[in-house]
Symmetry: C2
Subunit: 132 residues, 2 copies
């Protein structure tokens, strides 16, 4: 009987061969999830860097043309990866929302207000706040 | 002046050195996004495989103990990666929702109903539907 925590509750009622297979599959999912977490952290660092660059050179936060290209490209890649293209767009929007949420929290705590949209915007606005 | 589509609208008003730097940063973001898309596709394939295994051996779809461990681990990894741990949990829930959404669409189109929860569940339920 496996003592791997990945066995979960299945350890109580699954025969050992099948449990081993399940634990092995879950270990792959866990590896993928770890990669996703570190990659997402890196993405937020990258948009933060863009934000600093834009703030330093007084560039506008939003770039609708860039964002349109990003969405179209992600949908093409998703199609190639056999991932639902609509999900890819939803995923990008989910990340953008998070960036904006972070920024709003910072703005609120500093009593600043800014307008925003776009995948790079939260970080940019943060950078603006930090450069004020 | 850059003709890279990553220049976006900035191409019209940014001096070429800064534009190059911006385009280079955006190329990194695009590489990260492509990796995210292909990795997410692989994750959905992995949960699909778990679903097939569970359906084949009549294992229950949900495993709350496994899910609890997944969330706790992702939060630890997020902390290490300097990513907001609450965001890591939200991200896992976002993926779970998508898996469930896919399943519901399949169930609806086949007139089947099943109860579900958990990170592996949508795929499992799909597998159950396919094995019926």
């Amino acid at each position: 009987m496996s003592t791997d925590p990945r066995a979960g509750e299945a350890a109580a009622y699954v025969e050992s061969g099948i449990l081993e297979e399940l634990v092995s599959m879950r270990a792959s999912i866990d590896n993928i999830d770890a990669t996703l977490v570190y990659l997402l952290a890196e993405r937020f660092k990258a948009t933060q860097r863009v934000g600093v660059l834009k703030a330093r050179h007084q560039l506008p936060a939003a770039d609708p043309s860039r964002e349109k290209n990003q969405i179209a490209r992600l949908k093409r890649l998703a199609d190639d990866a056999q991932l639902d293209p609509e999900f890819a767009e939803k995923f990008l929007n989910f990340i953008i929302e998070e960036v904006i949420r972070h920024h709003e929290a910072i703005s609120a705590s500093r009593g600043a207000t800014t307008e925003e949209d776009g995948a790079e915007v939260g970080a940019e606005a943060t950078a603006e706040t930090e450069n004020r």
